[in-house]
Symmetry: C2
Subunit: 195 residues, 2 copies
DNA sequence: CCGCGAAACGGATAGTCCATCCGCATGTGT
DNA sequence: ACACATGCGGATGGACTATCCGTTTCGCGG
C-alpha cells in the first residue's frame, strides 16, 4: 500500500488536486455515458493528466465508477423516501420500482453499481443499503395491503430490477428503445407481482 | 489470416488432433462449470497442451464457448420442437420457457451464448435461430388462444429469458438457490405475460 | 517396414494493457 | 521568500493475449 488511498468521496484539499478530481469525474461521466468501459489509463489520456494522478484519486475503476454513480444513487434514495409518503401502497411501490429501473437503463454506471455485490466506497454501500431499506418498506406496505404475490420476498427486489435492466441491454443498444422496453417489462413484472 | 481457421464444429481428421480437440473441450467445460472465465492460455496449461494448439482449434474464447454450449443448445432446440406437439398452447409455452431459463441458470456457457448478439460459429447461429423460431411459434399459438398480454411481442422473448437468468446471478452465487429463484421469477413473469 | 509430405504441435516472442513508483513541480503556511 | 508537504507525471515492470514458425508426429504409398 504505497499511497494513503482515500476510499471516500471527499474532495482533496489542494486547489489543483480538487480541480483534477472534478475533471476526472467529468471525463469519466462522459465515457460512461457513451458506453465505453472505464479504463483509468484511458481516462487519464482524455483528461490530459498523468496516469498516476488518476490512480491516486481513484485506485480502481470500480472506485471511479461508484463515485460517478453517487449523485444518481442519492437522487434515487431521495425519491424512494418521498414515495413512502404516497397514499396508495401499490402505486407508491410501482412508481418507485419504475423509477429505479429507468435509472439503471438510462445510466450504465448505475446498472453496474447496482448489480455489484461488494462496494469499495462506504458511501455507495450506505446509499445502496438505504435504497434497499425503503424498497423493502414499500414492498412491505404493499404486501400488508394484500397486493403482493406470496412467492416474492424483499431479497428479490434488487435482482429483478437488475434483470430487467439487463434484459433491455439484450433487447437493443438504442437508449430510447431500451427505455420503452424497460417500461413494458416493468409493467409485466408488476402484473406478475400482484397477488 | 495465417491459418485455415475452422469456424465449424467438425472434428479434425488426424487422430492426435481429434484427441486434443476433445480434450480441450473437456477442459473448457470444466472451467465453465466452475465459473472460471475461459482464457485460451489457461485452457492450454490445464490441458497440458501448447498455446498454439488451442488457438488453432479455437481462434477465440467465443468460438470455444460456443462449441462448449452447442450440445445444450441442441437439447433445447429438440425440447422446443417437442413442446409444439403439446395440446394446451399456454402450458406448452410456459414449460418451454421454464426449461430455457433453467438451462441458462444451470450452464453459464449457455447464458453467455444466449445473451451475445453475434455468433462466431454458423452452427450456433443456426441453433439459436431455430430455438427462437419455435419459441415464436409457441408464443403465437398462446397468443392466438388469447392467453398473452398484448404488450409483449416475440422479440421480447430472448431478452426476458436472459434477464431472468441474470437476475438469478445477482440474487445468489449458489446454483441451487439460483435455480429456485429462477423458477419463482419465471412464474412471476408468466403471470405477468398472461392476458 | 521405410520414407516422405502434410498436418499438427509447442513455446518463444511481440504487442497490449494495467498499475506502481519515485524524481520533480506546484501549492501553502510561516 | 523559504521550506515543507502535497500532488503530478510518465517511465517502467508485470500480466496477459495472440501469432508465427521451427520441430515433431501422423498416416499413406511404395
Amino acid at each position: 500500500m504505497a499511497y494513503p488511498i482515500k476510499l471516500d468521496t471527499m474532495t482533496p484539499q489542494r486547489k489543483d488536486a480538487a480541480r483534477n478530481w472534478e475533471h476526472i469525474l467529468t471525463v469519466a461521466r462522459e465515457l460512461v455515458d457513451e458506453g465505453t468501459p472505464l479504463q483509468l489509463n484511458d481516462v487519464a489520456r482524455r483528461a490530459g493528466l498523468g496516469v498516476g494522478t488518476v490512480y491516486r484519486h481513484f485506485p480502481t475503476p470500480e472506485a471511479l465508477l461508484e463515485t460517478v454513480a453517487t449523485p444518481c444513487l442519492e437522487t434515487l434514495a431521495a425519491q424512494g423516501e418521498q414515495a413512502l409518503t404516497h397514499d396508495d401502497p401499490w402505486t407508491a411501490f410501482a412508481d418507485c420500482l419504475t423509477r429505479l429501473v429507468e435509472g439503471q437503463v438510462t445510466d450504465p454506471a448505475l446498472a453496474k453499481v447496482a448489480a455489484s455485490a461488494q462496494d469499495v466506497l462506504p458511501r455507495t454501500a450506505e446509499l445502496k443499503q438505504q435504497i434497499l431499506a425503503t424498497g423493502a418498506k414499500l414492498l412491505d406496505r404493499a404486501r400488508a395491503a394484500g397486493a403482493i404475490h406470496p412467492d416474492i420476498d424483499n431479497a428479490d427486489l434488487v435482482p429483478l430490477m437488475c434483470g430487467i435492466s439487463y434484459a433491455t441491454y439484450v433487447h437493443s443498444t438504442d437508449t430510447d428503445d431500451r427505455l420503452a422496453a424497460a417500461r413494458r417489462y416493468v409493467d409485466t413484472l408488476l402484473r406478475g407481482l400482484r397477488a
